[in-house]
């Protein structure tokens, strides 16, 4: 754990920034938190709305077990206290996207208590300093509907499809001290949620959004007054909000002004935050326990299933990749950051081990290198990702096996891989059909080498006269004469002998 040295340099000296984040994460479920309507993204307006979500009189909420389960599993993944007793409260306010006139949330007794998330501050250097950021609580609540303002000159359109979808609100402690720390926290939280499967982490579709609390102080002094910037929907914007808002607060304070505790909005086009005056009154939410819902009590069997169903999490996986599979710290960190990548990698490793009849630790390093350089390079070039990859883990494993048993040289493997990307054919089939097999046929290689030596008498003389760098030239020419199919090791041996 290291202290952040991020400071705003003001006219009166250096200022420290204090950051807390409230992340709203949509819980992955088929149906809504309190109704049987669907949650799928992108449906026709108001088609995924039940009479409960539309707040028709007499409708009663009934909680979705899966939403509760995912919140508990998320809490367990951040080593948090799980509250076997929790309760739902009504948060009262009026807005056109909230037909009930209140949001069902958990103020007094949240389902998850204190936990923590450890982040690596410089993600490009996985062995650099880490910091543990406290999580205050996670509670479960309903999402609101969606307002559209640009469809009609004098009306706003309301779509209630999102109304009643389950959210987790993950509230951090004010433990972050720089935009980089906040960015690392959001990325790590997103990674954990995706491993657990409790949220798809899709920030573009609004599945994850953050309320950013920022205040400034002179180092060592008490916390300053904070502002809260609502609904920030990317890591980059979270970092931009902090930087902008901290600088704005320093300017206000140094000009002799005061920070007003208020809600602000971020405008990405102008890269600035502005006050939401309409919400001034909104903090008076008049919370009270929802009389429609009994307290939520979880039994040991429920908790045991939640714990047993947790997957291996990013930090544990990263350590295992280093210690058991022998990967570099960098490769281990890169492979474990996204759950899709680890799934692909683990499938590639197990297929490779099977194809080569070796242990996973024997094949893991080559598999990691190939995935991170060759496959990612190709996917980038093609504008694809692992999900849409034209090559499957089993096909990749077949290619790696052909390299491991000497059938293909590194150069040939690249050629075969290109053909695999184009045709989707298996590596073995391509090798057979195109005759791309590497040859260790010493007779053929000796013949080619002899011809290269005969054709370049001047260079042979220079080489023998001490210009040893020319050796690479002979290797290159011989490989070229062999159509790239010669075993490089055999070429080297033969040339060394022939050139004396």
């Amino acid at each position: 754990m290291t202290e952040s040295t991020y400071r705003i340099h003001g006219a009166t000296g250096d200022w420290e920034v204090v950051i807390g984040l409230e992340v709203h994460a949509q819980i992955t479920s088929n149906a809504k938190l309190f109704s049987g309507a669907a949650t799928a993204f992108g449906a026709e307006p108001n088609t995924q709305v039940s009479l409960v979500d539309a707040a028709m009189p007499g409708m009663l909420p009934a909680p979705n077990r899966e939403c509760i389960r995912q919140a508990v599993r998320t809490g367990m993944a951040i080593e948090a206290q799980i509250n076997k007793y929790s309760r739902f409260d009504r948060k009262n306010y009026f807005y056109a996207d909230l037909p009930q006139g209140y949001q069902i949330s958990q103020l007094y007794h949240p389902i998850v208590g204190e936990g923590q998330i450890t982040v690596t501050l410089d993600e490009k250097h996985p062995n650099s300093a880490t910091k543990t950021i406290g999580v205050e609580r996670i509670h479960v609540e309903q999402d609101a509907g969606k307002l559209m303002h640009d469809q009609h000159p004098t009306r706003s359109y309301v779509d209630l499809n999102r109304s009643g979808v389950a959210l987790m609100e993950i509230v951090s402690k004010p433990d972050m001290r720089s935009p980089v720390e906040a960015g690392a926290y959001v990325r790590k939280l997103r990674s954990i949620l995706r491993y657990v499967g409790s949220c798809d982490g899709n920030m573009e579709e609004g599945s994850m959004r953050a309320d950013v609390n920022v205040s400034v102080r002179k180092p060592g002094e008490e916390f300053g007054t904070r502002t809260e910037t609502k609904n920030v929907n990317s890591v980059r914007f979270v970092m931009a909000v902090i930087e902008h808002e901290a600088n704005r607060q320093v300017d206000v304070l140094e000009a002799g002004g005061k920070i007003v505790q208020e809600t602000r909005l971020y405008d990405p086009d102008k890269n600035e935050t502005r006050s939401m005056r309409s919400k001034e009154d909104a903090h008076d939410y008049r919370y009270f326990p929802d009389p429609d819902l009994l307290p939520l009590e979880l039994d040991d069997a429920f908790l045991a299933e939640c714990r047993a169903s947790l997957p291996e999490l990013p930090d544990a996986k990263r350590t295992r990749y280093e210690t058991e599979l022998g990967l570099s710290a960098y490769n281990a960190a890169t492979l474990t950051a996204e759950v899709e990548t680890t799934r692909w990698f683990e499938s590639l490793v197990s297929e490779s081990a099977r194809a080569q009849g070796k242990s996973e630790s024997d094949v893991a390093r080559a598999a990691a290198n190939w995935l991170l350089s060759e496959l990612f390079g190709a996917l980038n070039r093609l504008g694809k990702d692992l999900e849409t990859s034209p090559v499957s883990p089993a096909q990749g494993a077949e290619l790696l096996a052909l390299v491991a048993d000497g059938t293909l040289s590194g150069t040939l493997a690249k050629q075969v891989f290109e053909i695999m990307l184009e045709t989707g054919d298996a590596a073995g089939k391509i090798v057979e059909e195109k005759g791309l097999k590497q040859t260790s046929d010493t007779g053929a290689i000796e013949e080619a080498a002899a011809k290269v030596i005969a054709d370049n008498a001047d260079k042979v003389e220079q080489y023998r006269g001490g210009k040893e760098a020319l050796f690479g030239f002979f290797v290159g020419q011989t490989m070229k004469a062999m159509g790239g199919k010669a075993n490089p090791k055999v070429v080297n041996e033969i040339l060394k002998k022939a050139l004396g």
């Binding site: 108001n46 088609t47 709305v49 807005y95 056109a96 303002h149 009609h152 009306r155 307290p295």
Partner: protein, 106 residues
């Protein structure tokens, strides 16, 4: 402890300003005359409720239901929705499948 706090607290009372604020938060329009009439009414209700504070409930768990019962959870299955006509039936104005409301914009 709860009881002691209630008993020792000064009797809660509501003034005209509070009535107006509550009305505004609840989006209920009241005239000045109505608000003035509501001050003693609400204070009377609070007075009755505060009598409950005199009961000693030290060590008594809050009762959440008359019969012992636990919150029942449903399975994560889509059983509802696709009732847009019903959802929009009472809307004063609906267009293209949306509720249409007076423009609310930040």
């Amino acid at each position: 402890m709860e009881r002691a706090r209630n008993a020792s607290a000064a009797r809660m009372s509501i003034d005209l300003q509070t009535v107006k604020k509550i009305a505004s938060l609840a989006r209920i329009s009241v005239t000045d005359g109505e608000a003035q009439a509501l001050v003693p009414e609400l204070n009377n209700i609070l007075g009755w409720v505060e009598q409950l504070g005199e009961v000693d409930v030290a060590g008594v768990e809050p009762m959440t239901a008359v019969i012992p019962n636990t919150l029942r959870l449903r399975d994560d299955v889509v059983t509802d929705g696709n009732v847009r006509e019903k959802v929009l039936a009472n809307a004063p104005q609906a267009e293209q499948g949306f509720f249409a409301v007076p423009k609310v914009i930040e």
